[in-house]
């Protein structure tokens, strides 16, 4: 039992997300499976591609998540329109990250719209969250 507790604590810290965000990702996982029968878990490599690739965003201009967050998630970013500093996305650099499902869902919706001009699918959201967790 004690061993189990240690293992679950260890895996939690590996996840680098709060229990409520982990729960949210479990729900995303279920939805992803419904939407795509060959779905076999979230993938940080796919998440990195989502995060770093360039798309025509809401402004009709080339845009990437890295346009504001930079390629190093442990660093602060900068809002490309206003210049306002954005705290690091990496949960290791910024423990506030991935602690609130409300915050996570709000920003995923907004930022997929800004970069992709559409909302992300459950799989895409889970992939990009998995990428953020591992950085």
């Amino acid at each position: 039992m004690k061993y189990l507790a240690i293992v679950s604590f260890f895996s939690m810290s590996l996840m680098a997300a709060s229990p409520e965000v982990v729960q949210y990702m479990n729900e995303l996982s279920k939805t992803a499976k419904v939407e795509n029968s060959s779905f076999n878990g979230f993938d940080a490599v796919r998440g990195k591609e989502i995060f770093t690739s360039t798309h025509t965003g809401k402004q009709g201009k080339p845009m990437s998540c890295t346009s504001c967050h930079t390629v190093n998630l442990a660093n602060s970013g900068k809002n490309s329109l206003t210049g306002k500093v954005i705290d690091p996305l990496s949960p290791r650099a910024n423990p506030q990250r991935l602690t609130s499902t409300k915050e996570v869902t709000k920003w995923l919706k907004r930022n997929f719209m800004d970069v992709y001009a559409r909302e992300g699918s459950a799989q895409e959201k889970g992939d990009v969250l998995t990428y953020i967790m591992k950085n």
Binding site: K58, Q59, N79, L81, T82, G83, K84, K102, K106, K109, R110, N111, M113, D114
Partner: protein, 179 residues
């Protein structure tokens, strides 16, 4: 004696009032901004509302004091958050409602758009009052990287986030004081 004292106090108050009134023509708006600080709520509920407003709107830009625009401008802003200056700034429904009410309650009582031919300003910098106050500011001062645009009040108004826009607090990056 007591009556005399009261009278003289009243006279002083009247004189002071007259002086302030005379001063109002030029500085009335500044006085308003100073007394309407976003950061000085009173009740716990107000504190929570201001904290929400500052957190949500201040995530991407300065949380502008609601007094800079009339209600109809804020309503237009809040009703178009899905395309807020070409970004998605949508909020959770409950937060949206709280912030819209907060903005409506503290909006400018002056319409501020009398010269705008019926247009509803979304940008504070579009309003005639703002344009007039910044008419001597050069384009170079505003577009330099340290400022970027008129949207960054606090780049030059060093106390802007506290709701104070006094001239002596101005420090324009690479230019200095405004006096």
């Amino acid at each position: 004696m007591k009556t005399l004292l009261n009278l003289s106090v009243a006279a002083m108050l009247l004189a002071g009032g007259a002086f302030l009134y005379a001063d109002d023509d030029e500085h009335e708006e500044h006085e308003n901004y100073r007394s309407s600080r976003v950061a000085q709520p009173v009740t716990p509920q107000e504190k929570a509302t201001v904290a929400l407003y500052t957190k949500e709107c201040g995530a991407c830009h300065m949380a502008y004091q609601p007094q800079f625009l009339p209600k109809r401008s804020w309503d237009k802003t809040m009703n178009t958050l899905d395309n807020h200056f070409s970004t998605d700034a949508t909020l959770a429904p409950a937060d949206h409602k709280t912030i819209q009410n907060y903005l409506a309650t503290h909006a400018s009582k002056n319409d501020r758009m009398s010269d705008m031919k019926g247009a509803v300003a979304l940008r504070i910098s579009e309003t005639p009052y703002f344009v007039r106050e910044h008419r001597e500011v050069t384009k170079k001062m505003v577009t330099q990287p340290e400022v970027k645009s008129f949207a960054n009040c606090n780049a030059c108004h060093t106390q802007a986030t506290n709701g104070s826009y006094r001239e002596r607090e101005i420090r324009i990056p690479n230019y200095g004081r405004w006096e």
